[in-house]
């Protein structure tokens, strides 16, 4: 949460001019209240991190303390040990591979598909787009049973492919990229045509470089979704060595019901990449989310 630079908002400068006397004190009050509420709001996450550095006894001590005593890496050493039957490090690698490949697959297929839907005229375009958008309203649960059987027939059960490919047909991604492409001016491709470019060259050389922010946002959202997915992976991945972190946490929970030091360390490991992405790229993520809302 390093970037606290405010984006300019249109409505603010005018309101600032009309400040009534005493509004400075009120805005200070607002800041104090917001800070306190925010602190309470975020304290569970802080407590999760603190507990992960506690010993087994300290983690279940009463009263609960906000400082590990003694400070201990025991929990991490235990869960990250390569020979454990809950191989957290392996799960981390699996999650990373799956989320990266999934994210790449979503961005490539959605961008390619969105381009003709936004910038070409052809027969069947409206129907294709309407069908894709209609599936946004289909609850994912309806796909779970048949996709389990399809994935099983393809021999993908208990392999990472099962969580990379089937969920990559992102209707949201196509919709999101199309909104972006459609807003670009028409004469962009005209210049490329004068240079004798074909459609694919126009796409890769003119359109894609302009679409980098949108693609980055989509890639981030796809990464987060895949990293955090739970229902699908717990049923299609069952051996410890192919599991990912989210179902892994569930395994860790059933294996160590009250070892809260281990569970919190596992939860921290499962959150570090997404929290890091969020801290450094929060504007992309938050603006991607809010844009999807305004345009939806």
């Amino acid at each position: 949460m390093s970037s606290t630079v405010d984006t300019p908002a249109r409505d603010d400068s005018r309101q600032a001019d009309r400040r009534a006397p005493g509004s400075r004190r009120r805005s200070l009050m607002r800041l104090i209240i917001l800070s306190l509420v925010a602190l309470v709001f975020i304290s569970p996450l802080i407590f999760m991190i603190i507990t992960s550095f506690k010993t087994r006894a300290d983690a279940t001590g009463i009263p609960p303390t906000w400082i590990p005593n003694p400070f201990s890496l025991e929990a991490y050493e235990t869960i990250l040990a390569p020979d454990s039957n809950t191989p957290v490090l392996r799960w981390f690698t699996n999650s990373m591979i799956a989320a990266l490949l999934h994210s790449a697959l979503v961005v490539v297929t959605a961008s390619l598909a969105a381009y003709p839907l936004a910038r070409m005229n052809f027969r069947g375009k409206k129907i294709v787009f309407a069908v894709i958008v209609a599936t946004l309203l289909v609850p994912p649960v309806i796909l779970v049973i048949p996709n389990y059987l399809i994935v099983s027939d393809l021999g993908w059960l208990n392999s990472l492919v099962a969580i990379i490919v089937p969920t990559a047909a992102s209707a949201f991604g196509v919709f999101f990229m199309r909104q972006f492409f459609i807003a670009l001016p028409d004469d962009l491709e005209e210049a490329a045509r004068l240079d004798g470019a074909n459609r694919f060259e126009m796409f890769t050389k003119i359109i894609l470089p302009l679409a980098k922010p949108a693609m980055a946002t989509l890639a981030l959202l796809a990464f987060l979704t895949n990293w955090n997915d739970f229902l699908w992976p717990i049923y299609v991945l069952f051996s410890p060595e192919v599991q990912t972190l989210q179902p892994g946490l569930s395994t860790l929970q059933s294996a160590n019901a009250v070892r809260y030091d281990l569970l919190m360390a596992g939860a921290v490991v499962a959150s570090v990449p997404v929290l890091a992405l969020f801290v450094f790229l929060q504007r992309f993520i938050i603006e991607g989310v809010s844009r999807s809302g305004v345009k939806g």
Partner: protein
């Protein structure tokens, strides 16, 4: 303009440039008939294979006694659906019990997730130092997976050593509430955790919409002597209406699809009281391998969900006309 075929052979690059320079936007959008489909192909393969075919295949499965582990999958027509509506059948109690759990959860979580984030967004609507920092703080839990959130809160809500009961005790309130093993406490826990986890998502959408309301409208309202509450009712709420319907639908769908919280925090308990519909469907289909029955349940749930969404659409449309 027969040369207007793109995505084609490189030879066409040598065609006279003058004729191309005159092409209108309409002509730019024309290309060899296969070109758009080449662009669409990778996506459509995934989309047909893992979305369209499964939708139809799921309906087909629901017409069979489909046990994944057995070779024979006899066709039974609508029997799986009929059983869901016969009070004496085995599936009836389980399914409608889980639908009730989903209903309770939705009933309490949706209103909270529509109002609390709006409050947060209103607090942050005006520019002040550190606003983006606060926005990030409220959004942060949303980037965590349900497994992290659930494992964390199971700890905080622990009967004996959890933070929540400890601080309740300090405040002089009962400090022995069984948050994960008794109702209604379990519902408070599940709804509360979900609100904590996802309120940032709705708040961020509200915030973006608030910033799109022209400042002139507020100024005009002030000139007319409107106080803060009147400005909220007459300027803010109407300005939020389009986003409000989006947020309602998205929140509704998410609540009806609740699974991980109940699976990991309460394990569906006590008894089966907090076992949601998704939990029941996954358990029936993917643990007991009664896939025909589970598929039928998922279609019944989908009909409910689409019905609810239509009601929401209709409610918001109705208000617009009046």
């Amino acid at each position: 303009m027969t040369t207007l075929k793109e995505g084609g052979a490189p030879s066409e690059q040598r065609a006279p440039r003058q004729s191309r320079a005159k092409s209108s936007p309409r002509e730019i959008r024309r290309q060899a008939p296969g070109t758009p489909w080449l662009f669409l192909a990778p996506y459509l393969i995934l989309f047909i294979g893992f979305v369209l075919v499964p939708i139809v295949f799921g309906a087909w499965i629901s017409l069979h006694t489909w046990d994944y582990t057995r070779p024979l999958k006899p066709f039974v027509g609508l029997q799986n659906y009929a059983e869901l509506f016969q009070p004496d059948s085995a599936q009836f109690q389980n399914f409608w019990g889980s639908m009730q759990a989903t209903g309770i959860f939705t009933l309490f979580s949706v209103p909270l997730l529509l109002t609390i984030p709006l409050g947060v967004a209103l607090l942050m609507a005006k520019k002040f130092p550190g606003r983006n920092f606060f926005r990030a703080v409220y959004f942060a839990p949303y980037v965590l997976g349900v497994a992290v959130v659930a494992v964390l809160w199971r700890y905080l809500l622990d009967n004996n050593i959890g933070l929540v009961n400890y601080y309740l005790g300090l405040l002089g309130l009962p400090n022995d509430i069984a948050w994960t093993t008794s109702t209604p406490a379990a519902w408070v826990a599940l709804v509360g955790v979900t609100v904590w986890w996802t309120l940032g998502f709705n708040a961020v959408i509200y915030l973006a919409a608030l910033q799109d309301i022209p400042a002139e409208l507020y100024e005009a309202a002030r000139v007319d002597g409107a106080n803060g509450w009147q400005q909220f009712v007459n300027v803010t709420l109407p300005g939020l209406r389009p986003v409000l319907s989006f947020v309602t639908i998205v929140t509704l769908i998410a609540s009806v699809n609740m699974f991980g919280q109940s699976f990991l925090i309460t394990q569906g308990g006590p008894g089966r009281e907090t076992r949601t519909a998704i939990y029941q469907i996954a358990d029936t289909g993917l643990r007991n391998f009664q896939m025909g029955s589970a598929a039928a349940m998922s279609y019944v749930l989908t009909v409910f969900l689409i019905g609810l969404s239509l009601v929401v659409f209709w409610l918001f449309r109705e208000k617009k006309e009046s």
